[in-house]
Amino acid sequence: MEDRETFHCNDNGDAGGGSNVVEIYPLSRYFFGSKDAIPDKDDCPADRIQRMKANYTARGMRTCVHGILLVELFQHPHVLLLQVRNSFFKLPGGRLRSGESDVEGLKRKLSRKLSSEEKVTDDDWQIDERIGMWWRSDFETLPFPYLPPNLHRPKECTKLFLVKLPTTRHFIVPRNLKLLAVPLCQLHDNNETYGPIISGIPQLLSKFSFNIIQD
């Protein structure tokens, strides 16, 4: 669409960042398979809260890293989301181990959720910049995109990273999870279905100019 080209923000080298142009490829370039289910660690939400609290007592603040992987469909960027038990949605990612860096942890989690078991050790994920951070004062409460002024001991910090996908890739997803490509226009303002973190992704991505590489 020729008209659209002129609306991409031209990278005039403003003081702050690197390039804000991101290449995304059509969904048809990617292949999807399945692997053994990853067993759920908790039987119910109450169990999960218990486990989180126990971990907090033992290890301190929980840091999670999530990756935002983008593909193109119908000329519009789509985010890859995992759906658990046909109900709630989450971004690929998870908790960091102690001493692990953000990038290492994210690569490990992405491979665990999206690659076959053999590839886990030498997987090649291109982790780009951190685009958002959310803080939680408690495991049951809503997260905030800033550290609230009176909160001195946050229980959880969630970091979101943009992940640049190669031109083609084989995704292998555990059988108990569904991998979906959800358009930005569906996430936007849709707190009820996706929660504040995922529904806020379009605003975090707004500064990027997406270069859709067609065949």
Binding site: M1, D3, R4, F7, C9, N12, D14, A15, G16, G17, N20, F74, Q75, H76, P77, E129, R130, I131, G132, M133, W134, F144, P145, Y146, P148, P149, L160, P183, L184, C185, H188, D189, P196, G200, P202, Q203, L204, L205, S206, K207
Partner: protein, 258 residues
């Protein structure tokens, strides 16, 4: 000076401009200050409710950064040339698109829209040690904390209320609390913002600045306090204090004495 008396007027004027010049590009600045160890954004309030970021429309063919500087000067800087702030425009943190001549905007260009009517870009503006702001009579300058903006679409609209998310990736380095006592002679006790701008600005500013201000007020969302900014660290110091990239130093803007 506001050009439109109503939303309908504003949209009508936008249509006329679109016919003449094509898609409107507007640039807004996010000016950060710090209060109670929490980041605040400077907003201009028109009347009693409507808040907007300092900024405005670019002229056709104008460079974004130059245009933002021009708009910041026209909204926040005194007319007198001796008080021009040196605006340091940082990165673009958000882009919003208006598909039609309506008030609704989206953080992406909606699919099937080939001719958006407006593109609005938000840039971070780094404030220096002390800033001298002069605000037009009909506007109020507010410093609003991030927690007041978050999720508050009703009061601030979708663009401003989502700024906290867009700034969330930065780790703010709150500069300033420790230097508050060092220089009692060089900052004002009570209020520090100058509210009016008119031809006698220079004389009036000098008068107000040198005497304790009781008449002028800066509307803050919380109790008014003086703003003092210490010198920003030199590059060497900066590296020691902020070893990571992606850390943003936030200063407090204030009025300097000359």
């Amino acid at each position: 000076m506001e050009k439109d008396t109503s939303v309908a007027d504003r949209l009508a004027r936008m249509k006329v401009n679109y016919m003449k010049e094509g898609m409107r590009t507007s640039v807004d600045g996010i000016l950060l200050v710090q209060e109670h160890n929490h980041p605040h954004i400077l907003l201009l309030q028109i009347g009693n409710t409507f808040c907007k970021l300092p900024g405005g429309r670019l002229k056709p063919g104008e460079n974004e950064i130059e245009g933002l500087r021009r708009k910041l000067c026209s909204k926040l800087a005194a007319n007198s040339t001796s008080f021009q702030p040196n605006w340091q425009i940082g990165e673009c943190v958000a882009i919003w698109w208006r598909p039609n001549f309506e008030t609704v905007m989206y953080p992406y260009c909606p699919p099937h829209i080939t001719k958006p009517k407006e593109c609005k870009k938000l840039f971070l503006v780094h404030l220096s040690e002390r800033e001298y702001f002069a605000v037009p009579k009909n506007l109020k300058l507010l410093a609003v904390p991030l927690f007041e903006l978050y999720d508050n679409v009703q009061r601030y609209g979708p663009v401003i209320s989502t700024i906290p998310q867009q700034l969330s990736r930065f780790q703010f380095n709150m500069v300033g609390m420790e230097l508050l006592d060092n220089d009692p002679a060089t900052y004002l006790k009570n209020k520090t913002w100058v509210k009016e701008t008119n031809p006698c600005l220079e004389r009036k500013i000098r008068q107000r600045v040198l005497t304790p201000l009781s008449g002028l007020s800066l509307s803050l969302s919380f109790a008014p306090r003086e703003f003092v900014v210490p010198a920003p660290p030199t590059n060497g110091e900066q590296e020691r204090r902020q070893p990571k990239s992606g850390v943003l130093a936030v200063g407090i803007g204030g009025v300097g004495l000359h």
